[in-house]
């Protein structure tokens, strides 16, 4: 084509339109947020520009005649073991722009093992009976927060025992699952409504993320964890007292070491009021909390928040899974956190530099196993619950995470997939075609909270049933009996070091 940059045609996707099926109804034109489809006046038909397609599949999903196919563009560079096509394209892109490569959701790097896939679960045979969850009770209820070392009782007048030990505040969950932090602003109001309603219906929690909590959502407080991050957006006394727990976000798995960045385009009236930032200005969280430079500082912040909430709710500290995560987690527990949330490198994000997303941090499986082990070894495991996050894809991942030592898991990418996300990774553009990571009025209404909440509820119900089945198969009737029970796990194809870190035996042993 004429007048275009030389690398324009090295695009990622091709739009294939079935000529017999396409009726030129223009549904695809209206749906594409990137204007890849257009009406050609002279040809009197719908045409497209492949270079603009980001591969979100929105048009394909809504085309009423199934005339569309979004394909990876097949033409490719000469095979090269080192220079994979994405690296070549990165260079072309950066040579044009001179900028950092931005990305959103997803985890395209293929050569770091997904340990979930290398772990297998046990099932009972002959010597111990398996349990049928449809016929027998099965307990998934989970409590997050500090647990007492021992329980002391006194006798009342009539001789019945009464608990003397003062229990720490805990968050009660009907499933060992929570929607992880996605700030209001990074995703829009409709989805915050949907998550709040879904969490309430399910008896679990969702996390506000670092952007505050919209006034109308305070009613769902019992099922809300409010987050305090380095930017302190939307943090005030009412906010801290609105939820069932408070979380200090130190790090995020997708971008350890850097703060959040919400571009000004996404800051509309509602977001601006909730975040307490000016309309249209970029909301940039500093990389560190400027009041946390040590474990002692963290201790102060934890107790400042506990004071502010009158010790009614547990305080969680969320960190990205990085080197020495076990020692850091130990410090966090000793600093007084009731929950430690660890976010693995495959966690989602609305915007992160690609290099950081794909190269910084460690997989959650390794971090989780090490943190659980370390806290046990130090005899402080009861002082905090562990929540694993970052790359939980299915109920089996949940079961494996719990067997590796988690009390519960956070999941967000899966919840967004449930409402249509196809992981096109264009969250940072503010033009999410599925109406998720966008505050554009025209796009955001693609998420009807009634529909979205129902889908999230369905997903959790489905996972719940599957978790019960897997537990029953292992002869367990409560999720408590699985926690840190690594004997229920076996590895396939892992090295001795990896198995040592995970604390599991090889399959066959």
């Amino acid at each position: 084509m004429l007048f275009q940059p030389i690398n324009r045609n090295y695009h990622d996707f091709s739009i294939v339109r079935d000529k017999d099926a396409c009726i030129n109804c223009k549904v695809c034109i209206r749906q594409c947020a990137y204007e890849a489809h257009y009406w050609d006046e002279s040809r009197q038909k719908v045409m497209h520009d492949n270079a603009k397609c980001v591969g979100c599949h929105r048009c394909e999903a809504l085309c009423p005649t199934s005339a569309l196919l979004i394909q990876k563009k097949q033409s490719d560079f000469k095979d090269n073991a080192l220079w994979k096509p994405e690296f070549i394209k990165y260079i072309y892109k950066q040579a044009d722009t001179g900028g950092v490569l931005l990305t959103g959701m997803g985890s395209p790097v293929g050569n770091i093992p997904v340990y979930w896939d290398k772990l297998l679960l046990d099932a009972s045979q002959v010597t111990n009976p398996s349990i049928d969850p449809l016929r027998e009770p099965m307990e998934l209820k989970t409590f997050l927060g500090a647990k007492p070392v021992k329980l002391e009782f006194t006798k009342t007048k009539d001789g019945s025992p009464k608990l003397k030990t003062k229990l720490s505040p805990n968050i009660e969950l009907n499933y060992p699952l929570m929607f992880s932090a996605m700030s209001f602003g990074s995703i829009n109001f409709n989805l915050h409504v949907a998550m709040a309603r879904a969490a309430t219906e399910l008896g679990i929690c969702y996390n506000t993320g670092e952007g505050g909590l919209h006034k109308t959502l305070y009613q769902y407080g019992k099922n809300t964890i409010v987050q305090v991050a380095s930017g302190r957006f939307g943090v005030h006394r009412d906010f801290l007292n609105a939820g069932a727990g408070i979380e200090i976000k130190v790090g995020q798995g997708a971008k350890p070491g850097i703060g959040g960045h919400l571009p000004g385009e996404k800051i509309n009236e509602m977001v601006s009021v909730t975040r307490m930032v000016p309309l249209g200005s970029d909301a940039i969280s500093p990389a560190p909390h400027h009041d946390i430079y040590s474990i002692e500082d963290l201790h102060q912040l934890i107790f400042a928040l506990k004071e502010a909430s009158e010790y009614r709710v547990p305080v969680s500290v969320k960190i990205a899974a990085v080197h020495n995560v076990a020692a850091i987690a130990s410090g966090i527990v000793r600093a007084g956190a009731d929950i430690v949330a660890i976010d693995g490198m495959r966690g989602g994000t609305g915007a992160a530099p690609g290099m950081i997303r794909d190269n910084v941090g460690i997989p959650i499986e390794l971090a989780l196993a090490q943190v659980d082990q370390r806290l046990r070894d130090e005899g402080i495991r009861n002082r905090a619950s562990i929540v694993a996050a970052g790359g939980i894809r299915c109920s089996a991942d949940v079961v494996k995470a719990i067997a590796l030592g988690a009390d519960a898991v956070y999941f967000a990418t899966a919840a967004l997939l449930a409402v249509g996300c196809t992981l096109c990774g264009k969250c940072y553009t503010g033009k999410c075609p599925w109406g998720i990571a966008t505050n554009d009025a025209k796009l955001a209404k693609r998420q009807n909270p009634d529909v979205a909440a129902k889908k999230m509820v369905n997903l959790v119900h489905a996972w719940g049933h599957e978790i019960e089945e897997m537990l029953g198969g292992m002869g367990l009737n409560s999720i408590e009996s699985l926690r840190g029970n690594r004997d229920k796990l076996r590895a396939v194809g892992l090295s001795d070091t990896e198995m040592d870190i995970l604390g599991v035996k090889h399959a066959g042993r």
């Binding site: 099926a21 809504l62 005649t65 109406g435 009025a441 025209k442 209404k445």
Partner: protein, 148 residues
């Protein structure tokens, strides 16, 4: 009575309801034929229209009013209120194409047939087993058939 209510907050302006309406009222009951052959050849058109203004859209069709202005205005008796179902019915044979109803309808829910001296108006898909086609096809539940 159960009516079809649009929700402007979640209507995404995809116009899929219009396609569903066309298909439901086509001879072929096949979207591709209905849209390409019957629409262009016979003027088959949707009883539902999606109206857009800025980011807002809403899909409008006959409200089947309790006291329909169109029935009062109709000079030939083609438009009637069916006391049993509550629908505002249209008898194509009786319609003389005077457009009185078009001007009377406060919702602008009646349209001219593109080729003939007839009108196009929602019949609530009364003979469709699955109920209103537009409601079934809307991808965002922006149309609901319910009692209010």
């Amino acid at each position: 009575m159960k009516r079809v209510y649009p929700n402007k907050d979640y209507c995404i302006g995809c116009h899929i309801c219009e396609l569903a309406c066309i298909t439901a009222h086509s001879k072929s009951k096949d979207l591709i034929l209905a849209y390409t052959v019957e629409r262009t050849g016979e003027g088959l058109s949707s009883c539902k229209r999606v109206h857009e203004g800025g980011p807002t859209c809403v899909a409008l069709s006959c409200r089947h009013c309790d006291e329909p202005a169109c029935v009062a205005a109709c000079i030939s008796g083609a438009l009637q209120k069916d006391p049993e179902s509550g629908r505002t019915t249209y008898d194509r044979e009786k319609c003389v194409g005077c457009w009185s109803c078009l001007m009377a309808c406060p919702f602008g829910a009646i349209a001219r047939h593109p080729l003939e001296n007839k009108i196009v108006k929602c019949d609530l898909c009364f003979d469709r087993p699955g109920g209103p086609a537009c409601v079934a096809a809307c991808p965002n539940q922006a149309l609901k058939q319910e009692e209010r």
